[in-house]
Symmetry: C2
Subunit: 509 residues, 2 copies
């Protein structure tokens, strides 16, 4: 239990450099410490504590890598006029961060003040790259393809009547852990596309649906088109139970009913597009979930068999948490199923009931995760992302407030999402005179010749579009980019193919 | 024959305002007139003269609408300080162009010189809209869906073993008539996507292939996936027989062997992408065609049964034209088939032989078309497009040198193509102090709710990206845009949804 105790140390996850806006404002530190005991002593019987320990360990490890950067750079800044500055700086960096700093930046310290912005961005990119490599090499979330958890979940999905699970959370960093933490779903079994306000692109999703159907027809993958299963499209909007009018979804004016309504409308548009464009009863199933970013508790709008949803009714995982604390496993499941039935506007398919039951049970572990590690509510109630992820990919990013996602093919189409991210980081970083670190990623299919070169060209195109759209930030060294590509057909990690920090400007000739 | 004689009047198609760079430089007018008689007197026995007459009539009609604009505006310019300027101008416009000019532009004439640039762009957009309406309303090319020619050609394609014909000509305006004129294929039976240098986007085309396959599996449309047919991807590169090193494809430095090689490589990349990404023998057939933009004669690189092509060998339609002048229909076909066999690097599929034979026979009519109307070679050997078409659609544009195509979803991705178009129009229009008219088009599926609104949003997004990328031109009134959308599920025409010429700036609120 020593390990677990360590995990419960709030100071550890809240390194002094984690960018954050506010702590819980409505809880005094006294009441926090008195609450903590109660909270910690009683785990919910459905909570998977070993998973919680593993997940917390991973979260702490990765975030520490980012949060050690500023204090280390402060120390290095103080050294810059010392005689043996460079070796001292490199030794410090190596011992604290695990890697050396770029020599060509350090070497300029004698002629002008050390470019701390460049060093900061460089360290963030290194920390990301390190975490990315670790993720693909050691599968810390136990969710990669063909593992037992992934196979089990895929089987479960099939039993529920779904052949593909496609989730769009809001691109807000406070939802970046939706899949692996909040819902506890093996990441390889889900298609995740984050968008501001959870407003996914309908045409794009129709194309994904077509590809899935084609694969069923041609390859029988994930199953035969004759199997009576559906494509399940899920939207995860968010709200804040503690500060509803300030810490909700900015894209919907912190109004959770608007966020839910807009998400539901987008789901309906998607379904109608499928139904009107294809014959033979083509359709999809829809699910709308709300996430309380303070507690990670979800609420699920139960759909009837026609995917009709009552926006004002939902099953609350927090209420279920309370209502099942003293029940056996079997009674808990019955309790959940009964709640689902009560909140449904009509008859609900057995499969969707089983799916909702599963994610609510999973979410109970996450509620305890937040209770244990953060006394029931996150201290970083607002944004405190470490970098912006732009492009297509980022299979390895599953931590809350680590990354603001901007899933896009082009800045031209994705700029509404990206603008929100830049605005957030102006508050988080630029206000502290630190640059916005942007990791650009394009996944490609390695078995297709030329695909890697095209992915690299995509990175460069997006990098160029960013440097035009956010020209002033880039010119002031307040926005740096790291260009990465990854072969989605392999288990390997991403590859860095360029950066705004490269010493010589590499122009194509 | 009176009609035909009229058509042969060179001056008629070359209105004094048609933007053009040069006439034929290596043929004296004397030799032209002496040649003309021979050329005109002897039509090739395979030529479909009634089609030629109809097609020429259509070309003259449409181009006249564009080419009457400048002389009319010159007359109006001279009137601008007359007392009854506005009614006079409107009467003139109405009688010559068939429509009135925008009152709010004319009304400003007393306070500052008439905005001739705006009037020019406005007239071009009107001329396009008029032609577009005419095209969709009366099907002047006899190529729309479910007509006899379209059905017959679709049947022929099936018999050749193809279920979809997908052609990428260069976006150069001198290839804009490739489908309906040069190859004489009913436009509704082809997917056409023009790209600079004929370098189509591989991923995009793979997506089109997937959609086609899915439609075969789900709807049995255009045929069952069990039918042994293929997707035929064709690239049309171009060259100039009269001025090979100046009037060839700019994207390949006017080097036809480079143009052919790059086009072939892109075809191979596409095929490899399909073969490596999908199982069960998934593949496509490939065809490479060269077009002589002076004479419209094609040359076809005959593929063997494995789509292997010899870049240095081709069947020349011009040679076949000469070689079959005195043959019967049956002998001509045998002659063509024999030439195809001679030029093939191996065994060629019967279906592709039939397809090549068909387009060569069709092309013979086009060779005579150019001989009759232009004395064997176009006088506008270089660019003389009337407007740039940007976006997805333009099913109605099938005339040589009418439109420079920039098929794109985003300016960010399509800017290499679009930049070429802007450069061409700087020479054609800006050099004469006239603006570049850009018609933006997004086709949508009217049966999908929200699709029209998304198409309009796409138009606005692209319009905005153009106004950023070509800021100076836009600010100087030297680039104007007209935003149009069209329901691809209907036979109706396109709808104008905005323009840079709108009197009040319509901002979204």
């Amino acid at each position: 239990m020593g390990y677990q105790k360590q995990a419960l140390n709030r100071d550890r996850i809240l390194g002094p450099t984690a960018p954050r806006k506010r702590f819980l404002s409505n809880t005094s530190s006294e009441s926090q410490s008195s609450n903590r005991k109660d909270v910690v002593s009683e785990l919910h019987p459905l909570t998977n504590q070993s998973d919680n320990i593993r997940l917390l360990d991973y979260e702490l490890q990765v975030k520490r890598r980012f949060d050690e950067i500023v204090p280390l750079l402060k120390r290095i800044s103080a050294l810059q006029h010392h005689n043996d500055f460079i070796p001292q700086a490199q030794q410090l960096a190596k011992s604290v961060l695990g890697f050396e700093l770029p020599q060509y930046i350090l070497e300029k310290a004698w002629v002008r003040p050390l470019d701390m912005r460049a060093l900061f961005a460089w360290c963030v990119f290194q920390a990301h790259q390190y975490s990315s490599n670790q993720f693909f090499n050691s599968d810390p979330l136990h969710g990669s393809e063909k593992t037992q958890p992934a196979n089990d979940f895929q089987t479960f999905l099939s039993q529920c009547g779904f052949h593909l699970l496609d989730v769009t959370p809001c691109s807000d960093g406070r939802l970046a852990h939706s899949i692996a933490y909040v819902l506890r779903i093996p990441f390889s079994t889900v298609r995740r596309r984050s968008h501001a306000g959870a407003l996914f692109d309908v045409e794009n999703t129709v194309n994904r649906w077509i590809k899935t159907e084609h694969s069923r027809y041609r390859h029988g993958n994930p199953n035969s088109p004759n199997d009576d299963t559906r494509y399940l499209k899920v939207v995860v909007y968010h709200f804040s139970s503690l500060s509803p009018s300030h810490q909700g979804c900015a894209a919907h004016g912190s109004d959770d009913s608007k966020a839910a309504e807009a998400g539901y409308q987008r789901l309906l548009d998607f379904r109608e597009s499928i139904e009107k464009s294809f014959c033979c009863g083509a359709s999809v199933d829809l699910l709308l979930i709300g996430l309380d970013t303070d507690t990670d508790a979800i609420r699920v709008h139960v759909p009837d068999s026609n995917s009709h949803i009552d926006l004002k009714k939902w099953v609350s995982a927090m209420e279920i948490y309370e209502g099942t604390r003293n029940l056996t496993y079997k009674d808990s499941i019955e309790f959940i199923e009964q709640k689902i039935d009560e909140k449904s506007p009509g008859k609900t398919q057995k499969g969707i009931v089983a799916f909702i039951t599963k994610i609510i049970v999973n979410n109970i572990s996450q509620i305890d995760y937040v209770r244990q590690a953060h006394n029931g509510a996150y201290p970083d109630a607002g944004h405190s992302e470490r970098f912006i992820g732009v492009g297509i990919g980022f299979k390895e990013v599953h931590l809350r407030n680590l990354t603001y996602f901007s899933h896009l093919d082009t800045v031209e189409e994705g700029s509404p999402d990206l603008d929100v991210g830049i605005k957030i980081f102006k508050g988080l970083n630029v206000s502290r005179d630190l640059p916005i670190p942007v990791v650009i990623r394009f996944d490609y299919s390695g078995k297709v010749p030329g695909a890697k070169a095209r992915a690299i060209a995509d990175c460069k195109r997006v990098n160029n579009a960013i440097s035009i759209r956010y020209k002033e930030l880039v010119n002031d060294g307040l926005l740096h980019t790291c260009l990465t590509v990854r072969d989605r057909d392999k288990k390997g990690s991403a590859e860095i193919v360029g950066s705004s920090l490269d010493p010589a400007i590499k122009e194509e000739h």
